[in-house]
């Protein structure tokens, strides 16, 4: 199964979950996603997703000056973002159950 295709539909939830744990800027969120196991997530996908979630009201943002380089834009989760994350958790759990059952059924049939 193509992991990148799966990721495409679930990246919003993953980004929301990471930011819900603590505010972060672009590269920081990317690093935490990769550390969490999504090693193949693309940088541009994460930055674009952050931007879209922010514009959609799921994230808030603020700029922190950095001594070492350009200012960093931090993202934090909003109430709307938490609701979206809750919905995503339920949808994923349900989908996961369904697909697991289907795949296991398939195994039994072929075994």
């Amino acid at each position: 199964m193509d992991r990148s295709q799966l990721l495409r539909g679930t990246l919003d939830a993953a980004v929301l979950a990471v930011v819900a744990e603590g505010d972060g800027y672009g590269y920081d969120v990317l690093r935490r996603l990769r550390a969490g196991g999504l090693s193949d997530v693309g940088d541009a996908s994460v930055y674009g997703t952050l931007r879209r979630l922010y514009k959609g009201g799921a994230l808030t943002s603020y700029v922190m000056p950095s001594d070492e380089g350009p200012h960093r834009r931090y993202y934090g989760i909003t109430e709307l973002g938490r609701i979206q994350l809750g919905d995503a958790r339920e949808t994923w759990a349900d989908f996961n159950r369904t697909l697991s059952a289907l795949l296991e059924h398939e195994l039994e049939v072929t075994a």
């Binding site: 990246l11 800027y25 672009g26 590269y27 920081d28 990317l30 693309g42 940088d43 541009a44 996908s45 994460v46 930055y47 674009g48 997703t49 952050l50 931007r51 879209r52 514009k55 950095s66 070492e68 380089g69 350009p70 200012h71 960093r72 834009r73």
Partner: protein
Amino acid sequence: MNGTTLERPDVTAYLVAVRAELSDLPSEERDDLIADVEASLLDSGEAPALSPAAFAAELREAAGIERSASAAEQAPSLLESARAWLGSSRGLAVRAAVRELAPIWWVVRGAVVAGVVVFVAGWAWTLTVQGAALATLVAVAASVWLGLRGRRLPARRRPFALAANLALAVVLLPVAAASTGVLDSRTGTYTAAFPEPVPGLAVDGNPVENIYAYDRNGRVLYDVRLYDENGLPLDVRTGDEDPLRRVLVDDEGTRLFNSFPIRYFEAGTIAVAQPGLGPEVDVAKVATPPLETAPKR
């Protein structure tokens, strides 16, 4: 950490290239996107493995930003889109159908050209029906011959044939419509739609608002009640909501709308000012003997 973009010319060059890929975005939107990317690239310490174009495309897709129309060099042109559609399965099906239906167009084309030539040139005034039919037949045959010949045209010349046919269709339709008008005025054909039915009583499509009955001596009769052959009252309801209309009632209080002539009260009264008023007609006395006195056969 990794310093600023000034110390990282590779990151600078990469950002410039990504910015160029996003040139169709509003500057504020683009600056925000690039600022995020710049900070992150400097932190990560390396330019991404993706090309700037691929990076920008991924960024765009994830951010849900459509490529605007100004990025025309990337978007397929109308001609390219049309070519792609013609090559698609749907396009091929439509082309096959058009090819099968083309002979109908050939016939119509010939007939319309014949009609237009005949009527526009004014020959219709002198041409007989047989002559017109012959002209149409010749034109249709020529048109079908041309159509069949067109099918053997080399592919590169087909678009010109198609364009010529489309142009002909666009030009011919209004001319044909105008020619039909010429035909109608010449033959006096009346092509109006069926007239709307008139509610209530009507004569020749005009509503009847009042009826005056005269006796044999030419005197107006009053409160005459009219019925048709089926016993249905010939109700005239013109002004039935008008409180000034003098509507008769029977014993049970039912209002009788088939009593004539309809009279109107003077405003604020229940009096009819001129009960004998009628249309300005000279009703002659009847000379034919009345039925009951008519001689029996």
